[in-house]
């Protein structure tokens, strides 16, 4: 008899095999983090049958190593175990795809055995699906059922649950169908498997699908089969897919010396008694008394008491349609609470608000007159339009209004909600330095919630457990995915649920402080800190926050509804005679339909959601600009970024004497195009540009990306190159340029390592390049004369072009580049003049030249322009300012421009700078801090927008609107 035990991140699988490897018994259970206990318990079930006999046992699985070590049993690496079982049972298999709780694996059998596991990223795994199901408020099974009735697929970022959430949330808020989202989630898992795991190796032939999620979710299987275009014969879904790895361990056990079953059981049982958690932290509260003192202090911050049942008079309504929850408050003129509501919006904020408004009318009838109403939050526009709410305000301002109500001297606010975190400073009564968690939601409430659910607790019970935990686990302070594995490790070492609960609270706080705020001491935050958001109602989180900062903070009792409260206060300040909000009668007749469509008015092809409400009110969301709304064509605000893109895009063609040369329209090629275009057309080449970037273009080249953590502007090149291969060019030219033009603004003039050497990565990874001449020589743009010489050598050798011709082409190319810079400067100048004439504010949208690509900036430039702001770019301003001293090594040309442009903005009262940062850009970890400090020196506001393959503009809107509100407040302050 052989026993295979597979202990995964969330489940334990045990199989009993006979000597021909046939399954006699199998079991699959969630271990709820009680790894060793559960394993012992499941094994004990076999006791009746096996007691007294000899067995061969092997343990596998990500959490199996610890158990195997502690119990002194044989451990076999899980991928290795799987491969063994596949060879035993399905020898004609070409590829195995196995998805587990937190692991995802691909094993290639044909063409050299290769096994790939997910690295530090758990995107595209069972945990991801669980998380998404929680977000939709359904079980994974229900998600599966929903997915079967899909009509269309949305593109949802697949790399990490966090990004997926930010993609899904707006879809939900905009009223997209749950069926479509469900299927899109599965599609995201498929995409992640193809891009993240297969990394270029094609998944074809006979594919064996294993693991719990694939076993239980038919919708997921369907997406895989369709995407990989597999025939029914090729896609194999074995009956024992859920326990297949355990079977593998069992097969492996065949090589191990047998031992008494009772001995095995005894060892595991004894191992489960051992408890040694290595990294622990001090408890949150030492005693009940300490806790009581703490709660008493915080409960003192409450709004004025009011007798809601007896009150007659005026009232103001505030609605906060947040990302996962909807909050409503109705207040008296002095801020007393008449009615509050806080609950998950179940993905449909409109329905929630409708129900609540009816409830308010029912309860208060004629007793109160709603004199004003305001909406805020992610769903602000939707809710406002649906119910004819009087006004809307950006959520940061709403939070500030509410915080100031409790502590007028407030200078720092941190709000941690379900999946977003906001914090900002208050300077001169204006919002300053907003920090949002865009790339990471690990510091947020929904993370604890998902975790609590996974462990089988309600969030409230789970939080309470942590309060008096003796040894909170140190879980580190990075992204959710990593925290999951930290928890796994803690579980492995036997930490209890209480310790994990407390550890999670501490992690959230550390994430907020060190990752989002990046403060090193509490004095940096401010002296009057107000904390709010539902997550702070969790006393363990609040306590951790105070302990970590070593200071006392203000948490109002209504911390969870501060946004709505602030909105209500704002409604009060509107001084309206009567609110225009829908009355009870209109609400009774209320109807809402949402329809999705795609806007075709420009290349952005925004996914629009068209909401239609009773009474003919319509609201369109998902748009970047005003055009699909039918309100005039465009705001007509000048936009240098767009001009730059259109100009560069026009540089192609030329007569074909020597051949057609293909250039990838990406990364540094954008800015260098005036140079290369002139160079090659002078030499008699026809210049062929790769097509414009798009999501589809990215997917087209995705399979050749070897390192998934590199920035999006680099990853998208793979698509450009693949497309060029189909464009009938004689050669593709993509040079290695470690040195950029020397503009004399820094200590050196490098390109970043990715820009510099990506052509070599392309050569090594795009196999199609073997069919074409791929030219990726090293050149130095910083030494024009040497360039001419080296280029003459190179092109002489490659195409037999006479040296004199190359040298003259290179002189013309340098001139053309200079000319381009002059036009750009001039254009920038004109935009500034025009804006000043019209009294418009000017935004310097600073980043890299390749951020002009609309697929990379996601139309942020148009979005900013739609707020009535003129947009110029850093490369049009940097020349105006001499080199400035900075606190970092200033040695990259593109980055030096950022410093000079920031410096220039400081001298211009009507300019603000917004920095675009590509996710994964290591160098911007350095520039962002420096740009911020330069701008703050000049009393300017710093706004940073992180961009990736996701194209959610909601966070961008918040920042831009907050920036506008802050500019406004400053202006008022000055007058």
């Amino acid at each position: 008899m052989r026993i295979g035990i597979d202990i995964g991140s969330t489940t334990v699988k045990v199989v009993l095999l006979d000597d021909r490897d046939e399954i006699i018994f199998k079991t699959y259970e969630r271990h709820m983090s009680k790894v060793r206990e559960k394993t012992a318990e499941m094994l004990a079930m076999l006791g009746l049958k096996l007691s007294g006999s000899e067995v061969q046992v092997a343990v596998t699985g990500s959490a199996g190593l610890g158990v195997a070590k502690a119990a002194n049993l044989e451990f076999v690496q899980e991928v290795f175990a799987t491969a063994g079982a596949v060879e035993r049972f399905y020898p004609s298999t070409d590829v195995v795809v196995e998805l587990g709780g937190e692991d995802a694996k691909i094993i290639f059998f044909t063409g050299g055995l290769e096994e790939r596991m997910n690295g530090s990223c758990a995107g595209g795994t069972g945990a991801f699906i669980d998380q998404m199901a929680t977000l939709l408020n359904v079980t994974p099974d229900e998600l599966n059922t929903l997915s079967e009735k899909y009509e269309k697929l949305y593109s949802i970022a697949s790399r990490c649950g966090v990004f997926a959430k930010t993609d899904i949330q707006p879809l939900l808020n905009q009223g997209a169908r749950k069926e479509d989202i469900a299927a899109s989630i599965f599609q995201a898992v498929v995409n992640q498997t193809i891009s993240g795991l297969a990394q270029g190796r094609e998944i074809k032939g006979n594919v064996l699908f294993l693991g719990g999620p694939l076993f239980f979710l038919s919708g997921l299987r369907k997406r895989f089969v369709e995407t990989l275009k597999l025939t029914p014969e090729e896609a194999v879904f074995p009956d024992n897919a859920d326990v297949f790895v355990a079977v593998g361990a069992g097969v492996y056990a065949g090589n191990i010396a047998p031992m008494e079953f009772d001995e095995v059981l005894r060892r595991i049982q004894n191992a489960s008694a051992v408890k040694n958690t290595t990294n622990t932290l001090p408890p949150l509260f030492k005693s009940k008394e300490e806790y009581e003192e703490f709660t008493a202090r915080h409960n003192a911050n409450r709004p004025p008491e009011v007798d809601a049942d007896g009150y007659r008079g005026d009232a103001y309504l505030g609605v906060d349609a947040g990302s996962t929850t909807t909050k409503l408050v109705l207040i008296t003129p002095d801020g007393g609470l008449l009615y509050t509501y806080y609950a998950s919006n179940g993905g449909n904020p409109v329905a929630v608000v409708l129900e609540q408004l009816k409830e308010i009318y029912r309860r208060f009838g004629d007793r109160v007159t709603i004199k004003g109403s305001a909406a805020t939050g992610y769903g602000e526009d939707l809710v406002k339009n649906a119910f004819n709410i009087d006004n809307g305000l950006v959520e940061t301002v709403a939070h500030y209004r509410a915080a100031a109500h409790f502590n007028p001297k407030v200078d720092f606010i941190i709000d941690i909600g379900g999946q977003d975190m906001k914090c900002f400073k208050i300077r001169n009564r204006a919002i300053d330095s907003i920090l949002l968690n865009e790339a990471c939601s690990s510091g947020c409430g929904s993370f604890i919630e998902t975790f609590a659910k996974a462990l089988g607790y309600s969030i409230a019970d789970f939080a309470k457990l942590g309060l008096f935990a003796e040894k909170p686990v140190d879980l580190g302070s990075r992204c959710t995915v990593f925290m999951n594995s930290s928890v796994k490790q803690a579980q492995k070492e036997g930490a209890g649920v209480d310790d994990i609960s407390a550890g999670l609270s501490i992690s959230i706080v550390k994430n907020a402080i060190y990752k989002v705020i990046r403060a090193s001491s509490p004095s940096e935050l401010g002296r009057h800190i107000v904390v709010q958001g539902g997550t702070f109602l969790n006393d363990a989180v609040l306590r951790s926050f105070e302990l970590e900062l070593g200071t006392e903070v203000t948490r109002p009792t209504i911390a969870g509804i501060m946004g709505a409260y602030g909105a209500a206060l704002y409604a009060r300040s509107l001084h309206l005679e009567k609110s225009g909000i829908l009355g009870l009668e209109e609400l009774e007749k209320f109807s809402h339909t949402a329809k999705s469509s795609q806007c075709g008015l420009c290349g952005n092809n925004c996914h629009l959601t068209i909401n239609t409400f009773s009474g003919g009110r319509r609201f369109i969301s998902g748009n970047r600009c005003e055009r699909p709304l039918g309100k005039g064509k465009n705001t007509g605000m000048p936009n240098l970024m767009k001009w730059k893109y259109d100009y560069l895009r026009s540089l192609s063609g030329g007569e074909n004497h020597r051949g057609r040369i293909g250039l990838p329209f990406a990364l540094n090629m954008l800015e260098n195009l005036p140079f290369w275009y002139t160079f090659f057309t002078r030499l008699g080449f026809e210049v062929v540009l790769s097509p414009e970037s798009s999501r589809a273009l990215y997917s087209y080249g995705q399979h050749t990306i070897p390192s998934d953590t590199v920035c999006y502007p680099a990853k998208i090149i793979h698509g450009h190159i693949e497309k060029l291969l189909e464009m009938d060019v004689d050669a593709i030219f993509y040079p290695c340029l470690p040195y950029n033009f020397d503009e004399g603004k820094g200590d050196n003039h490098y390109n970043c390592p990715v820009v510099a050497y990506y052509p070599e990565l392309i050569e090594a990874n795009v196999s199609g390049l073997k069919k074409v001449r791929y030219l990726n020589p090293y050149f130095g743009m910083h030494r024009p004369r040497d360039f001419a010489k080296k280029a003459a050598d190179y092109f002489g050798e490659m195409f037999g072009i006479p040296a004199g011709e190359v040298k003259s082409a290179s002189r013309a190319a340098f001139k053309a580049y200079d000319a381009y810079c002059s036009i750009l400067h001039e254009r920038g100048e004109r935009i500034i003049e025009e804006a000043r004439k019209n009294g418009n504010q000017i935004i310097v949208l600073a980043g890299r030249p390749y951020h002009a690509d609309p697929e990379i900036n996601h139309g942020i430039d148009s979005l900013i322009a739609s707020f009535g702001l003129a947009v110029v770019t850093e490369d049009a301003l940097a020349y105006k300012q001499p080199r400035r001293p900075v606190h970092v090594l200033n040695q990259w040309t593109y980055h030096s421009r950022l410093y000079c442009a920031s410096d220039y903005v400081n001298t211009q009262p009507d300019m603000q700078l917004v920095q675009l940062v590509s996710f994964g850009c290591g160098i911007d970890a350095i520039t962002t801090d420096e740009v911020r400090s330069i701008l703050e020196e000049g009393g300017k506001l710093y706004t940073q927008l992180k961009i990736d393959e996701i194209n959610n503009l909601a966070a961008v809107r918040i920042r831009i609107r907050s920036l506008l509100a802050a500019i406004e407040a400053r202006r008022e302050g000055e007058n």
Binding site: G476, Y757, G922, I923
Partner: protein, 443 residues
């Protein structure tokens, strides 16, 4: 307490007075090499403390004071220094910090600036930071690198490489536990003592030392049971520093493997060679070309002696020559690829496989920019060309858990053992590398 003196740009200087009164803290990277460096600095009148701390608090300090998206080595080095400053072990008014600066196109060149920012945020503006560099970047009245010191440092690196090379091949097989480490200690002491005397730079003497070191290690009684050999390449700090790679070498030994870690000598030659190649690619000052060319030639010659010394014992694997590495890498990358570890990293992977060590851990900080290209970016092509290659890329960062990293390495090892089972251990390793040695000796 020494007076605080600033230069024109407002940088706090390390003064003569400080040299007398202060202790300089130095982060750890290569335990053997850096111990010798420390001794050399002390010879020249500095008080040095080499930090050997290794605990979670270091990462926490790093997270607190360094931008979290900065590369992990910066976070660790700075975290380790700040942790030491705060430890209470030193009078903060009597310490300075030593940090290296290379000036390459990678963001790593920013360490010193990030360290100063961190000190500022932690309220230690008065602690001077001393840059150790060969590019003449930042100068200090109380700290200088003259030719003598540089030469001693270079020798320390080469001696260090030889000692580590021999030790790595002995330790997994030693019969008397601790014997290898005792010899390391002995040689570190003996060589630093030698730096004090005169005449220690004569070629003959150096060669003699090389031979003696090799003889001594070769005399350690060993039980040569077959073990899986695993090469370690990667970003320089993560590759070498136990703090950076979660004690990778120790882990591999505990898995019954022999870690093979290419030395730092090649990296030094690589840096000199970059200037030569830059000149070829883009033009520039002839003097730099000649100077760098001389340095390259000089160290390559020493490397040749080192190889010859090891080669006398066929049971030991000598390092290959720099030129051989370069030739291998040239099939994959241009020699202009110099940021971070550049083409050298790819070259090391190729050389390992070329000499029969197919199992490789490619280490890098999460999101390391150059390694997108020269590490992860080249693995597919290597595997296509050399199907026997068994490479695993491991990312290191503050959140990555050891269990995940070890799990992935174990998978690589399981494959290694399977491959080894198919094909009995060959003696190809020695045959191949002795060819290189011949060439090296002849030059």
């Amino acid at each position: 307490m020494a007076e605080l003196v600033y230069n024109e740009q407002g940088r706090l200087l390390f003064t003569e007075e400080m040299k007398r009164e202060y202790t300089l803290l130095m982060p750890q990277m290569l335990p053997v090499h850096f111990t010798m460096l420390k001794e050399i600095f002390e010879l020249h009148g500095y008080k040095i403390d080499l930090l050997t701390t290794n605990h979670r608090g270091i990462v926490d300090e790093g997270l607190k004071y360094v931008h979290n998206d900065t590369c992990y080595p910066a976070l660790l080095v700075i975290g380790q220094l700040i942790d030491a400053v705060k430890s209470g072990k030193y009078d903060p008014h009597k310490i300075g910090l030593l940090i290296t600066q290379t000036g390459g196109g990678c963001r790593a060149s920013n360490y010193i600036h990030l360290l100063r920012k961190a000190l500022h945020r932690a309220g230690y503006d008065y602690i001077p930071v001393v840059s150790v560099n060969l590019s003449g970047l930042e100068k200090n009245p109380g700290f200088s690198l003259d030719f003598k010191k540089i030469r001693q440092m270079a020798y320390a690196m080469i001696y260090g490489d030889l000692i580590v090379l021999m030790a790595n091949q002995c330790r997994p097989y030693e019969i008397i536990e601790g014997e290898t480490d005792r010899r390391i200690e002995k040689w570190v002491r003996r060589l630093t003592d030698e730096f004090k005397g005169k005449g220690s730079f004569k070629t003959e003497h150096i060669r003699e030392n090389f031979n003696r070191i090799v003889d001594d290690f070769a005399s350690i009684p060993l039980n040569r049971v077959p073990k899986v050999k695993v090469g370690i390449v990667g970003e320089i700090y993560i590759k070498y520093a136990p703090l950076g790679n979660n004690n990778l070498e120790e882990f591999l030994r505990s898995e019954d493997c022999e870690p093979v870690v290419p030395g730092v000598t090649d990296f030094i030659i690589f840096k000199a060679n970059n200037r030569v190649e830059d000149h070829k690619l883009y033009g520039g000052k002839l003097l730099t070309y000649i100077g760098a060319g001389f340095l390259e030639w000089y160290i390559k010659r020493l490397q040749g002696y080192m190889i010859a010394a090891v080669k006398r014992y066929p049971e030991f694997r000598p390092p290959c020559t720099f030129d051989h590495l370069k030739k291998l890498a040239g099939e994959y990358l241009g020699y202009g690829n110099k940021m971070g570890e550049g083409w050298l990293l790819t070259g090391e992977m190729l050389e390992l496989i070329d000499s029969g060590i197919n199992n490789i851990v490619c280490t890098q900080p999460f999101g390391c920019l150059p390694n997108h290209v020269v590490g992860k970016g080249m693995i597919r092509k290597i595997k296509n060309n050399l199907p026997q290659a068994n490479i695993v890329a491991i990312d290191y960062d503050p959140g990555a858990t050891r269990i995940n990293q070890e799990n992935r390495i174990k998978l690589m090892l399981a494959n290694a053992r399977m491959a080894q089972g198919d094909r009995p251990r060959e003696t190809k390793t020695q045959a191949k590398s002795s060819d290189d040695t011949k060439r090296a000796v002849n030059t």
